[in-house]
C-alpha cells in the first residue's frame, strides 16, 4: 500500500463519510461523486486502467448527475428537516454497521493475511479486454446490454409524468 494509495483511500473514505454525514443533500451528492472519483483513482492505482476510466465515465459522469437530478426533482434539498437528518433509530443502524465492519475486518485479517503475492504489474491493454468481452464474456455483455435498455425504459416509465396527473 504505497503512500499514494493511502492518500486516495483517505480521500475516498472521507468522501463516503461526508456523503453520509452532511446535512445538505446536494453536498452529500457532491461528496459521493468525490468518493466515486477517489475510487476510480484507486482502481488506476491498482493498474485497472479501463475499470478506472469506466468508473469515472459511469459514476461521476452519469450516476452523480442522476442523483443530483433526483434530489432536485424531489425537492429534498429545500424541505426543512423537522426531525433531523437522521432517522429516529439511527443508533441501532450505526451499531449494526459497526458490527458488520468488525466481522468483515476480522475475516479479512484472519484469512487473506497469508495471500501476499507480489505479482508483476499486469499490463492490460484495451485490446485484451475487447477480446475477452467478445470472447468469454459475450453472453454477459449481451445480457447487460438488454438489462440496460430495459432499465432505461423502466426508469422512464416509472418516473414519467402521467398525463392524468397533469390535469
Amino acid at each position: 500500500m504505497s503512500v499514494i494509495s493511502y492518500i486516495l483511500a483517505a480521500i475516498t473514505v472521507g468522501g463516503g463519510l461526508a456523503a453520509v454525514l452532511l446535512k445538505n443533500m446536494v453536498h452529500c451528492a457532491l461528496a459521493v461523486s468525490l468518493a466515486f472519483a477517489g475510487l476510480a483513482l484507486l482502481f488506476l492505482d491498482l493498474d485497472a486502467q479501463f475499470a478506472g476510466f469506466v468508473q469515472i465515465l459511469v459514476y461521476v459522469g452519469a450516476v452523480a448527475i442522476l442523483v443530483v437530478f433526483a434530489i432536485l426533482l424531489t425537492r429534498s434539498s429545500e424541505t426543512p428537516k423537522d426531525g433531523g437528518v437522521f432517522s429516529p433509530t439511527w443508533l441501532a443502524g450505526l451499531v449494526v454497521a459497526a458490527a458488520v465492519f468488525a466481522v468483515i475486518g476480522w475475516a479479512v485479517l484472519n484469512s487473506v493475511g497469508g495471500l501476499s503475492y507480489e505479482t508483476a504489474v499486469p499490463a492490460v491493454t484495451v485490446q485484451q479486454i475487447g477480446q475477452e468481452l467478445m470472447g468469454r464474456y459475450v453472453l454477459p455483455l449481451e445480457i447487460v446490454a438488454l438489462l440496460l435498455t430495459v432499465a432505461t425504459i423502466g426508469a422512464v416509465i416509472v418516473a414519467m409524468h402521467e398525463k392524468e396527473d397533469a390535469k
Binding site: 453520509v20 479501463f50 475499470a51 459511469v58 458488520v100 479479512v108 426508469a155
Partner: protein, 103 residues
C-alpha cells in the same frame, strides 16, 4: 499487513460507511447513495483481488467489476426513478413515511 489486506480493509470500511448511511439517513436518496457506496466497495474488493490474485492475466476480476458497474448504473437509474415517482405520489422522500407496505 499485505497491500491486498489494506485494500480489503478500505473496501470493508467503505462498505460499512455505506451501510451506516443507508441505515441511519431518513431521505430515500441518501439510502440509495449508501447502497451505491456499498456497491463500489464491492467493486474495489473485486479489483483488489484481481490485482493481487494469483492470475491477474485472466482479467476475470476486472471484467466482473466492469459488468458490476454497468449493472449498478442500471440499478441506480431504476431506484431513483422509483424515488421520484414515490415522491410525486406521496409528496415526500422521507423513508419513514413510506410505510404503506406495513404488515
Amino acid at each position: 499487513m499485505t497491500p491486498l489486506a489494506g485494500y480489503l480493509l478500505v473496501a470493508a470500511l467503505l462498505f460499512s460507511i455505506g451501510l451506516a448511511g443507508a441505515l441511519t439517513r431518513r431521505n430515500a436518496i441518501l439510502v440509495l447513495i449508501g447502497i451505491e457506496l456499498m456497491l463500489n466497495a464491492a467493486n474495489l474488493n473485486l479489483i483488489a483481488f484481481w490485482r493481487y490474485g494469483p492470475h491477474p492475466e485472466a482479467l476475470t476480476g476486472m471484467m466482473f467489476a466492469i459488468f458490476s458497474i454497468a449493472v449498478a448504473a442500471a440499478e441506480a437509474a431504476v431506484g431513483l426513478g422509483l424515488v421520484i415517482s414515490i415522491h410525486r405520489h406521496a409528496q415526500t422522500a422521507d423513508l419513514d413515511e413510506m410505510n404503506r407496505m406495513k404488515g
